[in-house]
Structure formats: structure tokens, C-alpha cells
């Protein structure tokens, strides 16, 4: 309950136009974890994954684990956050999995600016991150996180929305819609993902090669 209240306080304090893009939450049905610098992230995410394992159909395979671990790692590696939240909900009736990840850190456009990566608008910076642009270019094992997350979302016929500072990207299949938010900006990054339950067991690995 404390985590839910904390999350709602953060969301309620956002500008109205940002809140409109984020949408409303059916909170009691979400499982939520809160991350801050004092917590062991691996331990907290393990709690979440163990809970999810009991609730979602086995046909998802390791796809949900993949998405949550990559996005959590991105927060830890890049965002310099104070607070981050991961929310999940499986709707049995709709057969839909919802994942929401929010951090109040630096945002993708700001991290790119800090590393002299040029872009024209914030939505373009998000698109570049989605295509594998990384600030850790000295390490060739980097730049796979958001790009491969998108591949897994596609494999599940899912949808993903990314809001970071003044940019918004909405992805469904191969369609990517971009919006620039104007004056009001989000401090941090908000990602929401909606996934259909696969009818047959999904092996994510061929999609990632």
C-alpha cells in the first residue's frame, strides 16, 4: 500500500497534459515495487518476478522476465533516479499483461545531451535509443536493451508507449508514432507495455538473434 500511495503521489504531481498521455491506473489490481538507491534492486525485482511467475500463463516463456530485467537495468545504468516504480498486472479476462516502468531520473534526451549525442527533438532521442543508440559506446556489449525489448514486445503482438522528458513514442507492430509534448516535460521516463497472451509457448531467443 505504501508503494501504491507513493507512486500515485508522484503521478498526481505531474502536469495535466503529461497525466493525460500516461492515462489512468486501475491500482488495486497492480503489483508494484519501489526502487531507490538504498534498496537491493536484484532482490526487489526477484520478488516481482516470483510473483509474476505464479500469475501469468506459461506460454509467455521468459518474455516478461526479459522485458522487466532489460528496462530495470537501463534505469540502474543510465537514469540516476531517486525513485523508480515497476507495476505489473495480468488481466485474466482480457488475457493481457500490463507492465509499467517509471523513473524520475535524467530522461533519455538529457542523457544523450550529456554525452554529446545530437538530435532535433526529444521524440527523436527516444527513437534513437529504441534503435540501439547507446551512451556507453566504449563497451560494445551495450545498446541492446531497449531495442531488443521492442523485438520481444513485437513477438507478443504488443504495444509500447515511451514518454521521456518532452518526447513520446507510441509503438504498435512496425508503426511508430511520435509526439513532442511542448512546454510541459516529464522529469524521467515512463514506459507502458501491453502484451497479448501467446496461444502457443513463446521462445524469445530466435527473435533476438
Amino acid at each position: 500500500m505504501k508503494n501504491i500511495k507513493h507512486f500515485l503521489d508522484v503521478i498526481n504531481n505531474l502536469d495535466e497534459s503529461i497525466k493525460a498521455h500516461i492515462g489512468k491506473f486501475d491500482m488495486p489490481n497492480y503489483f508494484i515495487i519501489h526502487l531507490d538507491k538504498n534498496k537491493d534492486i536484484n532482490k526487489e525485482v526477484n520478488k516481482l518476478l516470483n510473483k509474476i511467475e505464479k500469475e501469468i500463463p506459461k506460454t509467455f516463456g521468459s518474455s516478461i522476465y526479459y522485458i522487466i530485467s532489460e528496462l530495470t537495468d537501463n534505469i540502474e545504468q543510465h537514469s540516476h533516479y531517486s525513485n523508480a516504480f515497476i507495476l505489473t498486472k495480468y488481466n485474466i479476462k482480457e488475457k493481457i499483461m500490463y507492465i509499467i516502468i517509471f523513473d524520475d531520473g535524467l530522461s533519455i534526451p538529457f542523457v544523450f545531451e550529456k554525452n554529446n549525442i545530437s538530435f532535433s527533438q526529444d521524440s527523436e532521442a527516444i527513437k534513437m535509443a529504441l534503435e540501439g543508440k547507446t551512451t556507453k559506446k566504449e563497451d560494445i556489449s551495450r545498446g541492446f536493451g531497449l531495442r531488443t525489448t521492442n523485438l520481444v514486445v513485437k513477438a507478443l503482438n504488443g504495444e509500447m508507449k515511451i514518454i521521456s522528458r518532452g518526447g513520446l513514442l507510441s509503438i504498435k507492430g512496425s508503426d511508430i508514432n511520435t509526439i513532442n509534448l511542448g512546454k510541459e516535460k516529464l522529469e524521467g521516463t515512463f514506459i507502458s507495455i501491453k502484451l497479448k497472451t501467446p496461444e502457443k509457448a513463446l521462445n524469445i531467443y530466435p527473435y533476438l538473434e
Partner: protein
């Protein structure tokens, strides 16, 4: 001397963040006096792509002889994927076998 470490005791069932692997190598593996280390993957259900990449990179840099045991099919698939991705970007493996199955 050979040191055996259970990864489940260190991380739980899922190994999620790159930092947790980095801290494990710095504070555990590389500070051990033992030259040979056996890492037991029993009851590890999932390793993230970023952790698998960090693991391979740090194992590659370590002076220790590290041998993996009891790797599940799921974890093996992730290591195989990451090894393929790293070969694709010309990562230079100093060790003949990045992971020993």
C-alpha cells in the same frame, strides 16, 4: 584450491542487473585467494541479457579459472544469444570457451 559458490545464494532465482554481477566479480570472485572457482547455477531460473553480457565480459577479464555447473536450458539459451551478439560486434574473447556447459 577450488572454491565453490552457489549463485542462488548470492542472487536468488533470477539474476537481473548488470551492477549485481559487477559487484559479485569485484567483491567475491576477484578477491578470492583461490585460483579455480566453480559457480553453481542450480536453481537459477533466469539471467538477463545484460547480466549475461557483463558476466562474459568480466569472466573474460578475470585471472581466475571459472567453471560453470548446472546451467539450465533457459540460462544456456541466454548465454548462447549473448555470445552470438558479442561475436557479431567483434568482441575479443581471450578465453577459448566463454561459458563451459
Amino acid at each position: 584450491m577450488v572454491k565453490k559458490i552457489s549463485l542462488n545464494n548470492e542472487f536468488g532465482e533470477n539474476i537481473v542487473t548488470r551492477n549485481s554481477i559487477a559487484v559479485f566479480f569485484k567483491e567475491k570472485i576477484n578477491s578470492l585467494k583461490d585460483d579455480e572457482i566453480i559457480l553453481n547455477f542450480i536453481d537459477i531460473k533466469f539471467i538477463s541479457r545484460s547480466c549475461a553480457a557483463e558476466y562474459i565480459k568480466l569472466k573474460n577479464e578475470s585471472n581466475k579459472s571459472i567453471i560453470e555447473k548446472n546451467i539450465s536450458e533457459e540460462v544456456r539459451s541466454m548465454f548462447d544469444l549473448v555470445i552470438k551478439q558479442l561475436r557479431g560486434v567483434n568482441f575479443s574473447f581471450t578465453k577459448e570457451n566463454p561459458i563451459i556447459y
